[in-house]
Subunit: 362 residues, 2 copies
């Protein structure tokens, strides 16, 4: 994977990543395709609205259908009919957030499947082996996601585990796959700094910030986002994991982050909450009953070009599958368009105006 | 609507219906778009697989969002973004099958909404007014769907009600909308004959057979299908309502029916039951876990061109929306393809071979 820094505006960056499966223009939003499909969307629709890379969850794919099966079916790209880049997480975060029972040990984590209660173990070796068989373009190291709040001592021990695992993952990296390290350290600046030093020493194709948006106050989160970004190498992509609320994205891009993922646009779509150029709306509102206008008059997505709010309200209340499809197309289009315009503003040197304008709307 | 009889093979017919919104080649299968969307499909996808006409349910649209709202949103075509022909039923059948409580009177039927328990009344005048405001291309008369079994006396009274309502509907027909009469008469040949005589006297743009597939033995159903078809005018389209199992379709086409609708291909798709050139399969079967092959090696639909059975099994078990989409595309493509090939066999004079071949598979 080749990294090109195209333009900076303050600390905000517009970059270009070149991969064997296509270009990635950053800042980039990665739609989440948890089990091998971005919910409600087809790969063609994702391409049509401009998705350049998607994220899949190793934890889910490992449990079902299993990485060996995906490998035997030709790897994750062929499996899900998506020929552009795919980033897989390491599974660590989902083990912490989804499994009923987990036990962290020095060499990895034991956990109970949320699907059938069966017991499993993932260590650095397993995380790399699974991601290698999946065949993603970008793999993530296994990390120990430090919860909030954590004592300094707990955060430090957790961080050293993450660093040790990162080195073990690095040693197992195949040449076909990029590998990103993950910065931990909770809200302790010296630990975050230590984390980055060690990861840079090991050497990765990109660096991610983890352990944020795990319950800490927004102000603290933004402080750590800026602090972390300021220490990361400038010549590698920077990925802020799991954060995708647009207000947070604006802050993180300002700080110098490049890559983002979040289930919010797709999950909100299925719940009838839609992003527009005038703020969020709930499509089920009574006032839309006879509304002939599009969801967002400023939007050019398939949904806004072809359907009225009245129809979208009707199929949402009728729980129709097409409702989830049309809402998801709109929300993802809105996100991709937001990111494209954000990138443009960086290239034109007017990112601050872009940020100010959107902070008033969001 | 202009009717052209293109070719007959025995009693089987290949016809061409010309409407203001496009051509309909018969025998034709109408996918069901109950509340204004064919479940899981977009209009573009329906066109791509060759849908020429769809059916919407008046009962559902009347209750939600309401015909006045659809009218104010530009009519059913604009509402649902479908510019090809639409047939609406009269609502009668759903009143009988879905509403919690119904009371048939001489001038119409009182019923309780299955959505909120509210009370409603639909008579011939209301059925025509609702369908006129929806703006469908083909409207159906309100009929009293005679249940099975019925005594001769009950069936006769029910039939006379249907004939009276049909005449009242006919008197209210607008010039923009075709109107089909509905033959009733239960399993009594003289009543079916009487029904057809009266409807032909009134004069309709097409004739439908109702009151079949309501619990009677298959053999009886096929007997009535053949008997009814033999008496219907040859210069108008003939529609066999609600029947779409392919074995029954073959029999009905042999008898001379032209139009069909059924929720089976779409409903089965969502339940993971898929039609193939070698018979039905259930996609959830364990044996498909690592199966790299397409659903149906002889199928050229989007699903079969792009996805393996292994993937389709995985997303079905994961209850993903894309599963319902891909399965529905396949099943509808299979149906449309079946109907296209059946038409071709009639034009080539080899319908009997077509029927024999498929009866061995189905």
């Amino acid at each position: 994977m080749k990294f090109n820094l195209i333009k900076t505006d303050g600390n905000a960056r517009a970059c270009l990543l070149e991969t064997n499966r296509g270009l990635i223009h950053t800042p980039v939003f990665m739609a989440v395709g948890t089990v091998g499909t971005v919910k409600a969307m087809s790969p063609d629709e994702l391409k049509e609205i401009g998705a350049e890379i998607i994220l899949c969850n190793t934890y889910h794919l490992y449990l079902r259908p299993g990485h060996e099966i995906i490998s035997s079916l030709g790897g994750i790209h062929k499996f899900m009919n998506w020929d552009r880049p795919i980033l897989t997480d390491s599974g660590g975060f989902q083990v912490f957030s989804l499994s009923a029972l987990r036990k962290i040990e020095e060499d990895g984590v034991h956990f109970k499947s949320h699907l059938d209660g069966s017991m499993h173990f993932i260590g650095p070796k397993e995380a790399m082996e699974i991601q290698s068989l999946l065949g993603s373009d970008i793999a993530m190291v296994l990390d120990d996601c430090t919860p909030y709040p954590s004592t300094y001592e707990y955060a430090m021990n957790s961080l050293y585990r993450t660093i040790k695992w990162a080195a073990q993952c690095k040693a197992l990296q195949g040449k076909e796959q990029a590998l990103f390290g993950i910065v931990q350290g909770s809200l302790y600046e010296d630990l975050r700094e230590k984390s980055i030093e060690e990861l840079v020493d090991i050497g990765f194709d990109g660096f991610a910030a983890g352990g944020l948006s795990v319950g800490e106050p927004k102000k603290e989160m933004h402080r750590m986002i800026h602090f972390t970004a300021s220490l990361l190498p400038t010549d590698k992509p920077r990925y802020l994991m799991g954060i995708g609320e647009l207000g947070d994205v604006l802050n993180a891009v300002e700080a110098g982050f490049d890559m983002f993922d979040c289930v919010m646009p797709t999950r909100n779509a299925r719940n009838g909450t839609l992003f527009t150029s005038r703020g969020k709306i709930s499509i089920k509102r009574e006032e839309f009953k006879s509304d002939r206008g599009p969801l967002d008059p400023d939007c050019e997505c398939y949904t806004c070009r072809n359907y009225s709010r009245g129809y979208l309200r009707h199929i949402f209340l009728s729980k129709e599958i097409l409702s989830m499809r049309l809402n998801t197309i709109h929300n993802l289009y809105f996100y991709f368009n937001f990111f494209r315009n954000m990138r443009k503003s960086i290239i034109e040197g007017i990112f601050t105006e872009f940020k100010t304008k959107w902070e008033a709307i969001l």
